[in-house]
């Protein structure tokens, strides 16, 4: 059984995001790139399935992007993934989520997968649909925002618990399938020191446009259905209005302001 885990390199949550002078890119200076937090759950789940099933399971981490994504692939290897694939080509640059999904779908097909795991969303573009688009291009079923995953003994089916508003949906899937992972699914492990040493030496497979059955006009900016016009900074919030007085006076004044000024209650 082969499990493909999709991992993305994103700015750390604490990073300040500064719009570059051109208005359509983010200034990379000072940004620390890390594995997308939701992808950590995906890697961990792949490793746990391998440990549970004991035999004949391979976990392959796949990441798309410039050279820096090699670092998150090394992190996945250090956590315990068996192999890693770096999908990169100048032709892929500037692609929107659909264009990237088209490339990743073909990369997954090339590697071969019985189960594809990814994070529920990337915390950079926050599109949260790349994995589902990959599933559509691969024509496989999906369950997203999953907090529990159980495979059948014969490894042909899976049941996923998926979070929706006020309820959990139990989704039954025929494999191969796409699962996007949420917090609660597991506790991701830290890479061990021997794991990190081993990961450093591991060869990472390179995949480019020439390896995939796609034309240049289907990928990157040319293959995109959307175009970034520009980035905007956040509108400044007016300064906070502090409410003075003792507790009784504060409560009374807050109620008045919410009713008369903000008109929200």
């Amino acid at each position: 059984m082969k499990i493909v885990v999709l991992v993305k390199s994103v700015p750390d949550t604490e990073s300040k995001i500064k719009i570059a002078a051109d208005g359509v890119s983010i200034d990379p200076a000072g940004i620390k790139f890390v594995m997308n937090p939701y992808d950590e759950y995906a890697v961990e789940e792949g490793l746990r399935i391998r440990e549970r099933l004991k035999s004949d399971v391979t976990v392959v981490a796949v990441s798309m992007g410039p050279d820096r994504v090699v670092e998150v692939l090394r992190t996945a290897l250090a956590m315990g993934a068996d192999d890693a694939v770096h999908v990169n080509d100048p032709a892929f640059e500037g692609g929107d989520a659909h264009a990237s999904a088209r490339v990743l779908a073909e990369a997954v097909r090339l590697v071969g997968a019985d189960l594809v795991l990814g994070g529920k969303q990337g915390i950079d573009d926050d599109a949260a649909f790349t994995c589902a688009a990959i599933a559509e291009y691969l024509d496989i079923p999906q369950a997203q925002i999953v907090t529990e995953l159980v495979l059948s003994d014969d490894r042909s089916r899976a049941t996923a618990r998926r979070r929706v508003e006020g309820a959990d949906e139990m989704v039954e899937l025929v494999l191969p399938a796409m699962i996007t992972c949420d917090k609660g699914l597991n506790e991701p492990r830290y890479a061990s020191l021997p794991g990190i040493m081993k990961a450093k030496k591991k060869e990472i497979r390179k995949v480019g446009l020439a390896d995939l059955p796609l034309k240049p006009e289907q990928v990157g900016a040319k293959g995109s259905a959307t175009r970034l016009v520009k980035y905007h900074g956040l509108p400044e919030r007016p300064p906070v209005k502090m409410i003075p007085g003792d507790a009784a006076a504060q409560a009374k004044e807050l109620a008045r302001l919410l009713r008369e000024e903000a008109k929200v209650i």
Binding site: A135, E136, E165, E172, A247
Partner: protein, 325 residues
């Protein structure tokens, strides 16, 4: 002739979800600016039942697509059915709620239709048939203005941005035939387990009262529940409070929790770590109550109260009760 602006009508238990009415308002505004008729698309079990409510809304047509294999939700199956409605309606724009189902289906349907997709939009405009939107990215630290270059364009829209549409009309209901096979429903919902009790999920709530670890125990959250009850609010929590076991993860606001967009967000004993702020910063009005006057939450708040939450919250509950009579 301008293309149709289609709203995906989300149906739960045979009834339209509130977000659908908000989307009809959004669609009407787009139609006013860019032309085209507004229509509603209903898929699967309950579509015919919900069509009764739907046809009263200010829409030109209601399209339904039902099939025996669509008796429970399936991303793939629903996407096939919705694609048939998109074609039948000659839709150029399709709007979904940024809900669990709306996001899941929009992702799949956009790939199937070769459409552009914009997630979690907070603003949208239509000119010469081209959809242009604003949406928060990088956890809400920056806003991206993006436009479509595809003939069909889809968007998911956050709740509580547009006023819900009402109406007493009687739009035509058109049943769209769909071919669904077993291969289209290889993933489908087998069971729905209810987790929330009575109140709206925080992602759909108009008012949220959220607490942090300063509440000190799960029992003390009763203070917030009492306050929430007076204004029909839902109770949320910071990551610290969830990690401490005071509230379930389904109530967590912020990174690794939920992004919420209420009209009013009352943060009680929450200091305002960046991981929390990214989940609630788009709230229309933010109230912060904290004993530390230097807590970062005050920089994001509209109204601030420095003091002991155990003393202040019950007093606010009293005042809200008075207001609500």
């Amino acid at each position: 002739m301008a293309k149709t602006i289609l709203v995906f009508g989300e149906v739960r238990n045979g009834a339209l979800k509130p977000i659908t009415r908000e989307l009809v308002t959004a669609a009407a505004q787009l139609a006013q600016a860019g032309g085209g008729a507004v229509a509603l698309g209903l898929v699967g079990d309950g579509a015919e039942q919900a069509a009764g409510d739907a046809k009263a809304l200010p829409v030109a047509k209601v399209y339904t697509a039902t099939h025996a294999l669509l008796s429970s939700y399936s991303s793939q199956g629903y996407a096939v059915a919705l694609a048939a409605i998109v074609q039948a309606a000659d839709a150029g724009v399709v709007l979904f709620g940024a809900t669990a189902m709306g996001r899941d289906l929009a992702a799949r349907a956009s790939a199937r239709c070769g459409a552009a997709l914009f997630s979690d939009c907070t603003e949208l405009g239509l000119s010469n048939g081209t959809l242009r939107v604003k949406r928060p990215v990088y956890s809400g630290k920056v806003v991206a203005e993006v436009e479509s270059v595809a003939p069909v364009q889809m968007a998911t829209i956050r709740p509580n941005i547009f006023a819900p549409a009402t109406g007493s009309g009687s739009a035509d209901v058109v049943a769209v035939p769909v071919q669904i096979e077993e291969k289209h429903v290889r993933g489908r919902v087998k069971e729905v387990v209810q987790t929330a009790t009575g109140t709206r999920d925080i992602t759909e709530a108009e008012i949220i009262v959220a607490g942090g670890r300063s509440l000190k125990s799960a029992e003390n959250f009763a203070l917030l529940e009492d306050l929430a009850k007076t204004v029909g609010a839902s109770v949320g929590a910071s990551r610290a409070a969830v990690d401490a076991g005071y509230r379930p993860h389904s109530a967590q606001v912020g990174q690794t929790g939920k992004v919420v967009n209420p009209k009013l967000y009352i943060a009680v004993g929450i200091s305002g770590a960046i991981q929390h702020l990214v989940g609630m910063r788009t709230s229309k009005v933010i109230v912060a109550i904290n004993k530390d006057e230097n807590a970062p939450i005050f920089q994001k708040a509209d109204y601030g109260i420095v003091g002991d939450l155990f003393e202040i919250v019950p007093k606010i509950t009293e005042e809200f009760k008075k207001l609500r009579g």
